[in-house]
Amino acid sequence: MKVSLDWLRDFVDLPADVTPQRIAERLTMSTVEVEQVQEIGRELDNVVVARIRGVEPHPANPSIAVAEVDHGGGSVKVVCGATNVAAGMKVALAREGAVVRNAHGEPFTVGRAAIRGVESVGMLCSPAECGLNHLFAAGEKEILDLSALDAQPGTALAEAIGYDDVVFEIDNKSLTNRPDLWGHHGIARELAAMFDRPLKDPPQFGALPPAGGFDVRIEAPELCPRYDATHIAGVSAVPSPFWMQARLAKVGQRPINLLVDLTNYVMFAVGQPLHAFDAREVPSQIVVRRARAGERLVLLDETKVDLDDNTLVIANHEKPLALAGIMGGDLGIRPDTTEVLLEVANFTAIPVRKTARRLGLRTESSTRYEKGIDFDRVALGQQMFLALIRDAQPSSRVVRHVDAVAARPRPITVDVGTEFLQRKLGIALPAEEMRALLERLQFGCTVRADGTLHVDVPSWRSTGDVSLPEDIVEEVARLYGYDNLGFTPPVVRLEKPVIQLDRRKERRVREYFAFRAGMREVVSYPWVAPQALDAAGIAESETIGLTQPPMTGARLAPSLIPAMLTNVAANLRHVPRFRIFEFSRVFQPAPAPDDGLEHLPRQPHHVAGAVVGDDATTVFLEAKGILEKLDRTVQIAPLSFSGDTAVAWGDPRARLAITCGGQPVGALAVASSRAKRKTGIRRAEVALFELDVDALTPLPSRDNDPKPLPTYPQVEYDISMIVAHSVTWADAQSIASEADAMIRAVTFVDQYVGPPIPPDRKSLTIRLHLGSDTGTLVRQQIDEVAGRAVAALGEKLGAVIREGS
């Protein structure tokens, strides 16, 4: 919303030393956000009113003119191609250094220029070139004609048209809850309070004649509490006084004619929308009613709307004439209008908003009504309109008047304790000072003996804005100045430490993968494309949809694997080998039975990772190595790899289920050839894993189980054996471990295929860790124990020993 400083001064005398910047700052801090302070006169610097003394045709091109122009301090010659250049005309002369706009609206600086051999000192401007096409009409090749102005040549154009002004651009979002501020009078009220100056009221008209048989019937009182109709005769749709046109143009409203302009002018002044009907359309009666199904209305802007009974209309005795609070019909003020019926009404906010949205019509009127305008403002707007038209058209007279009231709102009062106010403010502001602040905002306030402030909320703050003690706190605090409240450290009781096992677990999981396992954390969207779901083998029935997905077919995924595959494929374009992980909630349809208040979907935290490399065995074993250390490092109940799992995205062989305390919690697998093909992963092998973090049980404190250090040194003994491909390390380990009590541990050393090992065999090297509690082992003991292991491996696995050490 644009607000003119000149217009504000109609309602409040601000101290002379208050700059526009200071006004903007105070409004921003205490009331609404001022986005821009525009000194509009500065945009017309070096543009002056001038008079054309004489016109001669250009010697080289008779279709353009060379005008001799009096600019007050002498005269200059200016070349001009406009069609309306004439001697005696008052024009806008852009002198050297003025910034005007070209045909595309882009600014350029006026200088001296020779135009086909004739020097032109400055430029005669069209309305568009001065940025004034809102205010002045002109033909296509015409310059601005200022002949109607009183201003003498040499007067700055800005001053001559009342543009030596400052326009504040206020963020409309910050005004949504303040219906009182949608006009200059409301903003002036805030400034009057801030600078402690009196607020001046809009002009009053006085007493009005009776209804004289005219009838206003409100058939939908729930949508229209009040409808004030005034029949005014002796008017005409002439142009408005120039000052009024200039003010409307400054706030972005194009002037039309006096009768229409006045309704807009009063709306921008006090925030109350008004509507003027040609009185011939409403000879006897106004009916405020819901539209009937099948009724249609052609609006002012010629759009046709089909009405229904959710739509409030203003009708005459037979048909709708206007959409209540939004827009009038096409039979509005016309050139031959001599009598008007002025509507100043109070419409209920929410239905106006709903209708405006349904019909896609947002107007200055609906924007104001949908914020909730107070009941009393009807009279304010109506009186101001009548006072202004009396001045503008002395022939006008009010012939009849009806103020129909369907429902009168109850005044709002709030009782609030001094102690409550002081506690919230954090300072001991005396009750009398708080009363004074409220009175500056025109709240009624009395301080009772018990310290209670009894506050009468003014009508313009009573439409939902102020009703609670907290609202009164806000009024006092914002006027006192939030920044003047300082800082009050909160005082808290220390009762117990904050221990949150799940938060700790989640953070340790993330930090384990990032800092121990050297993986980079990625974050992806929770919705994934259907192709990615398909690649991961996830059916649509396992997913959740959105009414308006961000891309066609995208669904919320029950797993992080689809996004992980997509991420791997995307990064492979730039980085050949990498490790990534993601930690996020996933979304799974709510389990039956339907119970609880909300019945929300399951949304467990998952962590997924990818190790990307050249060789499938290597990436699988790297990923497995990462997962093997997870439980101890993160301090959760032990994880184990529990055999096969048929994950849809996994390799048919290189895949493992992961369990925690016997419960399945996830899987590790090499990405299947299909998954890779579907996501476009080529020339790389990928090991993927995913765990349900919520299913990992955090330990209540650190759990370690240190053993006494061995009294006697341990001995290592390596065994290399040739076995069939089907023999596993796990078998060898378990057989060797059980061969003798002195075998304290068996660890993996190496596996090898290739010459000289026969093609259907592999060489497996394991290491025995031997020890005794009773003495240092001697060679003979070592050979005996190792021999038992070798014998058992040979017997049970058909192992042939290559060498021992």
Binding site: S174, D471, V473, Y482, E506, G518, I544, G545, Q548
Partner: protein
Amino acid sequence: MTMNERLSAISNEAMEAIAGAASSADLDRVQAAYLGKKGALTAVLKDLPGLAAEERARVGQDANALKGQLSTAIDERREALVDAASSVPPEFDITRPGIGMHAGGLHPIIQMRYDLDDAFSTLGFEIYDGPEISSELYDFDSLNFPSDHPARDSMDTYWLEGCETERGARRQCLRPHLTGGSVRYMQMGKPPFRFAYPGRVYRNETTDASHERAFFQYEALIVDKSVPFSAGRLLVNTILSTVFGRDVPVRMRAGFFPFVEPGFEIDMQCLVCEGAGCSVCKRVGWLEVMPGGPPHPGVMRAAGIDHTQWEGFYINIGLDRLTMMRYGIGDVRLFHSGDLRFLEQFA
């Protein structure tokens, strides 16, 4: 030359040669030249029998002492050379890069979040984590949003398929903000409360360099017997000083949000111009960074708290934008890109 002079000359020469030896082989040569079978000192000893008894005893003593002295010096020099030797071969290049390890790391926003978690933990705050699919009941009704508030439209919020005709608890959405979750938190316990609530939220928006459909927020809320507005600055300052590493001037001004009463817009001084006004802050000197204020009585009621007995202060800040400001990142979409060329720049 007297025998004395010979010994003295041998001593000087030999000690010089030992000191000048650069290797074990040099020392071997020195040893042979003086102490070996044909060595200079050995020659002196061989000449002893031709001397008078008295002189023979004296010179013999001196020569043997010198022999011991030189042996010791050679041994010490040999040990010193061994100690000073380098273990690396001659082609060793000190400028080569170190052998890399797998350099993983957290996402830049998660790093920021954990830094904030740590800061709030020092103030005794709990860290809350609420559901990301929530309902109209919590995310709108409980927060005092009017029933026809535009944010309830599907234009702004991602509503779930299948609940188009539902209302309230049964109308489900991806949470558009964290504040509804704060009501859940408060419903689970009894005041006083001190908690921070980090998380990702979702809005149905057209994306560009400064708009995302999924982004992170950080919320903090304190509820206690007495929480003046001016206490709220603690929450604001905790966030900004953690992120920017120093105290940042802050101002609190009037703002409107349905869930706080009164509402504040909280601005931080522009770090680029330090308040003087520049293009980053649109010449204002301040940047709007977060809303805040005491929870509205309606919100307190929804949370099951008697608002006449308890007071609170709430703030909520967008972590994406804060992280962008901290590092000078120009495009918010990079955070969800998964692009390692971007992510690997953060440690």
